[in-house]
Structure formats: C-alpha cells, structure tokens
C-alpha cells in the first residue's frame, strides 16, 4: 500500500515467443511504472511489435507470465483491453464512416453509454484538433489527421495505458511535431505510454525511459540521457570521403577509443578527440562533423550497422 504510485502496472517475467523455432521474444523481463513514457527501440524484426501484441493478447506467449493492471494476460485479455488504448502500426480506421462515426462505433465496442460517448467525442475531437473534420470521410483526411484520429480513437475509453506502434512513421515533420505535442499532453495527464519507434529523435524527446531491443532481447534499458552517458563515448568525429592518408594520420594520433567505418564515412568515438580534430582542421579536407554522441550512436553500437530487412 505504501508505495502505490510507483507500483509497476505492467510486469512480465521470462516472456518467450518463437515463430517456426525462431525466437522473436527471448526471456523478456519488464516492469513498467505508472505514468512512465517508455520507448521501445530496435531494428526491424527485433521483437518490438510482437512485444506490443503480447501486451494486448494478440499474440500468445510460449512461456513466462504477464500481468497488466493487476490482471493476468491472456486469461483476462478482454478486461485488460477495456483499460488500454491501442494505436496500431497499420491504419485501420473504418473508411465507411465519418470521423465522428468512427469514434462512435469504436466506443460501442467498449459498451460506453451513448450520452457519455457524445461528450467524450467532443473532447477527443478537440484534443485531436479535428473539430472541423467531424463529419468528413476518412479518405478526405491527410496522413497526419488520420493518425491523430487513430490516437483519439484509442483514447475513447479513457485508458490507463496507451500503446503506440510506430505512430509517426510516414508523416511529414509538421504532422510528427503535432503528434508529439499530443503525446506529451497525455503524459502530463499522468497516462502511461508505451511506444515503439525507429526514430531516435522521437524516443529522445518523448520518452523518460528507452528500451533497446534486438533479436527479442533487451540490450539496454534506461533514461535516454543516461543511455548516452553510460553506453557510449561523449563525442564523435565523422569524416566523409577522405583520403586514406588523412584517416591514417588521425588513426595514428589514437586519442579515440573506438573507430567504425560505414561506406565512405569514418566514425571516431572518444572523450574529447582534440588531437584528431586538430589534424582534420589543419588538413584541406572540410567534409567532416564533430558532435556530441547521441542515442542513435548508442543504438548503432548496440545493434550493429548491418542492414536489416
């Protein structure tokens, strides 16, 4: 009773799931606290979507246990989903209906009373900035509007937890910014949010906790700033299309701790990289960047630079 606010509302123990003898989720142990904004990062096929699907009972685990809001999954899947909102990766709004009807019909699946639903829809249309579009057909909406409607739809039952599977994939920067703003509002209201994404910037800006997954395993799990601080060198020198001699010179100075090459880009990671930087500055080569390390560097260090299909 004492520590109620910080009690985890999602607890998984040794969750495993495999398809055709390939492990997609491997001994997943997570605890998510109420009010947390968790970002799950990982390359394609890392197990992010499968994890989300397990959380709503769309995927049955092979072993392990899962408890959400005090109820066991999958035994109480329906009761759990009554308290959860889901924003799927693929748009599945009802194209036969208008914006308002979409919310109305979706509310019906939760058995929400008509009178309550009417007010809720007014609130949600406002939240999603879709008041002017209430009676528009879905195919008249832009990509950003559809996403906002999908989020509004997921909020129809005033959920305690909101799950979002790559909510901003394919959106232009303006639309993305506006989605971020909405999600931050929800976070401020105390909602627990769990989001998967490919965008480091998204995770860095929104999440107070980031989980990096690959091959079904959690490789790192901490606040984004802490991840950058703990998992990687503070600075990066990126040199593009340089002469082999220049790269050799920098390498000989050896004030970097790690070197990587990807195509014609050379990455030097290190504490200050003063000597390396001096060499490049003195040379005639001007195609380089010196910058603080970020979440993407952590991500690439943990999951490698190999292409995933």
């Amino acid at each position: 009773m004492a520590n109620q606010v910080n009690d985890p509302i999602v607890v998984s123990k040794n969750l495993c799931k495999s398809y055709n003898s390939q492990l997609v989720v491997n001994r997943l142990n997570i605890e998510i606290e109420e009010g947390c904004f968790l970002g799950i990062l990982g390359p394609n096929g890392a197990g992010k979507t499968t994890t989300l699907r397990i959380l709503i009972g769309h995927c049955l685990m092979d072993s392990g246990s899962l408890n959400i809001l005090g109820l066991p999954m999958p035994e109480k899947a329906s009761e759990i989903r009554a308290m959860v909102g889901v924003v799927p990766q693929m748009d599945n709004l009802d194209s036969d209906f208008t914006v308002r009807e979409n919310l109305m019909v979706y509310g019906g699946y939760f058995q929400i009373k008509k009178s309550v639903l009417k007010n809720r829809i007014i609130e949600l249309l406002k939240f999603a900035s879709l008041e002017d579009k209430a009676d528009s057909k879905i195919n008249e909406l832009s990509g950003g509007m559809r996403r906002r409607l999908t989020i509004a739809r997921a909020l129809i039952n005033s959920p305690k937890i909101l799950l979002l599977d790559e909510p901003t994939t394919g959106l232009d920067p303006q639309a993305r910014q506006s989605i971020w703003q909405k999600l931050r509002e929800l976070k401020q209201q105390g909602m627990t949010l769990i989001l998967t994404t490919h965008y480091m910037e998204e995770a860095e800006r929104l999440c107070d906790r980031v989980m990096v997954m690959d091959h079904g395993e959690v490789l790192a799990d901490a606040a984004p700033k802490k991840l950058v601080k703990d998992e990687i060198e503070p600075h990066v020198l990126e040199i593009y299309e340089a002469e082999a001699d220049l790269i050799e010179d920098v390498k000989n100075k050896a004030d970097f701790t790690r070197y990587e090459k990807s195509g014609d880009i050379h990455f030097f990671y290190g504490e200050k990289l003063q000597n390396s930087l001096e060499i490049v500055e003195r040379s005639s080569h001007d195609d380089y960047i010196f910058r603080p390390a970020n979440l993407e560097d952590v991500f690439l260090k943990l999951t490698g630079r190999d292409l995933r299909e």
């Binding site: 989903r81 009802d94 979706y106 699946y109």
Partner: protein, 257 residues
C-alpha cells in the same frame, strides 16, 4: 449468465457496426433485394412455368417462390460471410481494430454470423413482399418463413466464415461457391422437386442444410402438411453450431498467433 450477456453485448456491437455501414448504402442494396427475385420469379415463373405447368398442385411460379426465398437467404449470408467478411478481416483490418477493444475473436465471429443472418432476413422480407404482390403466398403462415430464413442465414454465414478463415484471397471463394453452394442449390429442390432425382443423389441432398430449409419454407408458403419439422430445424442448428465453433477456432488461430 453475466458472461453470456457480455458476449451477446459485444457481438451486438459488431453487428451494429455492420448495420450502420449497410444503412448508408441501403438504397442500392434494397433495390437488389427486391429487383432480383422479382425478375427471377416473373421471367422464370412465366417463361418456364408455361412448359412445366403445375408442380405438387401449385403453379410453377409459386413453387419457385419458396426456392427463391431459400437461395436468396443462402446467397446473402454466404456473400456476406465470404467477400465482405474477408474485406473486414484482411483488406481493411476492421476486425483487428475490434479485437483491440474488449471485443474478442469469438464476439467478432458471432456478430458477423448474426449480421449475415440479418442480411438473409432482409432479403427474404423483400421476396415475401414481392411474392404476396404476385399472389404466390398462401396465407399468414408464410410469415413463419422469416424465422426460418434467419436460421438458414445463421447456418450459411457460419459456414461461409469457416471458409473465410482459410482464405488467402477473394479467388479462394470460387472453390466453395462452385463446389459446394451451386451443386447444393441445384440438388436441393429449388427449381424442381428432388424426388425425380436418383436415390443416391436424393440421399446426398438430404444430408445438406439447404434441403432442410426448403422443406420448412415450401409448405409454409404454398400450404400443405409440415413434416419432420424438428429434424429440419435440428439439422440447420447442428450445421450452424459446428461451423460456428470451427470458424471461431480457425479465425482465432489466424488473428491471434
């Protein structure tokens, strides 16, 4: 009881969604419901009726009307359970949206079956009206055709959903319509009484649900003695129950994996 109530309410929310979509396009849909049987009865009844004369003491058109009632119930439910349901399951992912709420796969399947039966009911109401206008209906007993049509709809929409659970594309449904539905319609006594057929074929027809639907509908529409009522209803219920259970299981496998 509470659990059954919940399942019913959730299935009804799925049913409500479908009827809401239907009501937006009710005009053309109803035109089809009224127009098609009208044309069939008039053209086949008049044209063929001249050569056929009477069957079992009634005009061919009247005989045909009860057949058209049943095939229409079969076709409405089957089409809804195949093409429309597949669209919602796969193309538009409507079902995936539904099961992201308290609605379970079983609720979706039950809601869809109820909806398919509702479509059968609507089309049969239209045919009954057309038949009465043409003077092909023998009294108020014909109103009992409506619950039979609903049951027939439940039966064929659950069978169609079972087919849909295995479908990879729309083309897949041609197997079922060509190999199951069409032969069944031809052999179950829609266009002619089946006692003219070889005994083996009669035997096969009697194992299929459509024969039993017609056996109930025909005496209700044209008069005559109702026989083996419990058996006919029982067969329709068994087909419905078995295919519903199998459809739920298969669609569960397909969506939850």
């Amino acid at each position: 009881m509470n659990k059954v109530h919940k399942i019913l309410m959730r299935s009804l929310s799925v049913w409500q969604r479908n009827i809401k979509v239907w009501s937006k396009l009710a005009g053309p849909s109803l035109l089809g419901n009224f127009g098609e049987p009208f044309l069939y009865l008039l053209v086949l009844g008049y044209g063929l009726g001249r050569f056929v004369g009477e069957i079992d003491g009634v005009s061919y058109m009247a005989f045909l009307a009860s057949g058209v009632v049943c095939t229409s119930a079969v076709n409405s439910a089957s089409f809804e359970g195949m093409y429309s349901a597949y669209t919602r399951m796969d193309v538009q992912q409507t079902w995936l949206g539904m099961i992201s709420t308290p609605v379970n796969v079983a609720d979706v399947v039950c809601g869809e079956i109820l909806w398919g039966a509702t479509k059968s009911f609507i089309s049969v109401v239209a045919i009954l009206l057309v038949s009465s206008v043409l003077g092909l209906v023998n009294g108020f007993w014909a109103l009992l055709v409506l619950p039979v049509a609903f049951l027939t709809g439940l039966c064929f929409s659950s069978m169609a959903l079972l087919v849909t659970s295995k479908a990879k594309s729309y083309d897949y449904f041609l197997y079922y319509t060509t190999l199951v539905i069409t032969p069944m319609v031809l052999l179950s006594g829609v266009f002619f009484p089946i006692n003219t057929l070889p005994e083996v074929v009669q035997g096969i027809a009697k194992c299929l649900p459509l024969y039993h639907a017609i056996s109930l509908v025909r005496p209700l529409m044209i008069g005559g003695e109702m026989q083996l009522v419990i058996l006919h209803i029982g067969v329709l219920i068994v087909f419905t129950a078995v295919s519903t259970i199998l459809a739920v299981r298969q669609i569960q496998k397909r969506l939850i994996n």
